[in-house]
Amino acid sequence: MTAAGRAARALGVSAAVLALLGPLLLPGEYPATLGISIATFAVLATGLNLVYGYTGLLSFAQVAFFGIGAYTSALLVVQRGWSLWVAFVAGGIVAALLGLVVAHASLRLSRHAFSIVSLSLALLCLIVARDWVSLTRGPMGLPGLPAPRLLVPGLGAVAVDRPGVFYGVVLAFAVVALAATHRLVHSRVGRALVAIKLNEALAQSHGVDPLRYRLLAIGVSALLTGMAGGLFVFHLTIVDPSIFDFYYTETMLIMVITGGPGSFWGVVGAAVVISALPDLLRFSTDLRMVLYGIVLIAAVLAFPGGVGGWIARRRLLRWRRALS
């Protein structure tokens, strides 16, 4: 790496660190609240990217994993008195187990069956959350979730009840989750996932077991998504069936499609931009979803690789030029 490249990289890293810490430094609760939302969506979009972008399975069940993680951790804290730090991991595990069962059943048939079953799962979760009143309190939800307590060396137990502090927690989780996913997709596992997506038969002929790798991707994705849900609702202090809103699915899809399926930083970037921009610019809510729809159509028709695909195309052109 050249000296200029190193300097640029150092600049980029420090800018990123500053941007991440911004919500902690800026006054007021709004930057932190927005930061929580951005960090959460970065994890959600990356979870979908792992399943759709890398593995090629279009999953509508991400919102189900999110909501299951949310309900599980809320119920464990409220009814069983667990600490949130254990409960949100349990939420992720429950989501992952459910994801594995459903994926195993549907992937035996085909990846198309998986898409349709994942859609049903999301809707079924919504119905269960509304109607298993004795467990979920139905449409009334579980309000008044207590603020978690964090043991800080030297300070003792600190209540995480301010968005600023909560942002710190969510940010730490998001960094760990994204780092883990980054490591996964840049390991042999990620290579195998892409191979399965690109050409399943060829991958099999190389000894790759598609089902096993797909299950692994879905399991990890559901785990992280469920954990994100388990944390997020403690920021809201309430969990109700609207956690399964189909709107979240649409938003995640837009993030992955515009960022570029299979492009790690493309999707993270798209998640940040799409969760921040409409809010910061106060975009007219009436037409936001119409615009999302148009973006989706335009992206699928004219721009199928998203930002990540565009970068890959440039790389290909560079190679063509270099070799000709």
Binding site: G138, P139, P143, L236, I238, L277, P278, L281, R282, D286
Partner: protein, 381 residues
Amino acid sequence: MGRIDRRLPIALLLVWLGAVTPAGAQEPIHIGSSIPITGGVAFFGQHSRWGTELAIAEANAAGGVLGRKIEVNFQDNRCNPAEAVKSVTQMLGEKKYVAMLDGLCSGVVLAIMPLIERAQIPLVVANASATAVAEKSGAGGNKWTFKVNPTDASLAEAMVAWLAKEGKIANIAFLGEDTDFGRSGMLGFQSALGRRGQKLASTDFYQQGTADFTAVFTKLRAQKPASLALYAIAADFQNLIRQYHSFGVGIPLTGRVLSDQIPKEILASGALDGTSSVQPYTPEVETAGNKAFVAAFQKMHGNPPNLLSYMSYETTRVLLDAIKRAGKADPAAIRDALEKTKLSSLLGDEIEFDKNNLAHKNAVILTIKNGQIVVLGLSRT
């Protein structure tokens, strides 16, 4: 292709930027409102907004409050706590809003209550009906939350009290939508009946957006309850009433029958005679204030008001009145003024908050006789 690709994001950015509205030059009093503008219950948000807009327009036409214009910023919450927390925190962060209005959905209100308490900005709830909102407010709870509309429990109690007087509380079946509205209506009915030694004969919930009710009507007809308590709103209510009529179900209705939304033909047919209903509001109430309100609303929005628009209208009036009495656009002063509210409603009763910051407005008891809606009276909730 490549050129289009590069231009697209820029074009989108311009669209977004174009939507940003410049701030006004003079300094009005700012109020925030969090309601569903998109999503499944956008219809209710629309009516809440219309009601508030009418009250604000009237106040501004009369010279504003404390000599300043009032401006309301309506933010969408999709009836989803996550969206509400984001947009309300954003509004609170700007520090220019002196109060918040509505929230509309109970889950949303419960989620934003801690936010406004921390920011020390009063929240006046117009339409969220969950009993929990009032239980957590006022003395010993959230001192910044006020609720103008009656709770589900108190409305159901008013209805059952009237039914008991008429000797009609035995063998009531329940049919309601599967939301906090229907669920807490059922709980309200159940406990009100329980206090009188009765219970619901059966309970059924349907998913919001259900179009066809033939099956449940068939079941109810076979079951033959003495009356059917209905908790339905919007499109579902219209579907229900039409199918109730065309299948000739014939079981007297009670509960929250939206008298103003029954098609004229069905009403005139007499099929609904014997129906009783409890509403926080109905346009048919014959007071001068209400008649003027209905006319003004129709003129401004081209639609008749419903109970949501009415409640938002009254709630906005309560808030404006408190700002006037506070004498300054200061959240804490407004909160104190809200506590001392004593304002006549359009229905002729006094709006006052109890120790839980809950107003006990009158509920309207209606019945249908000879194809006509008859207001039987107002009952304290």
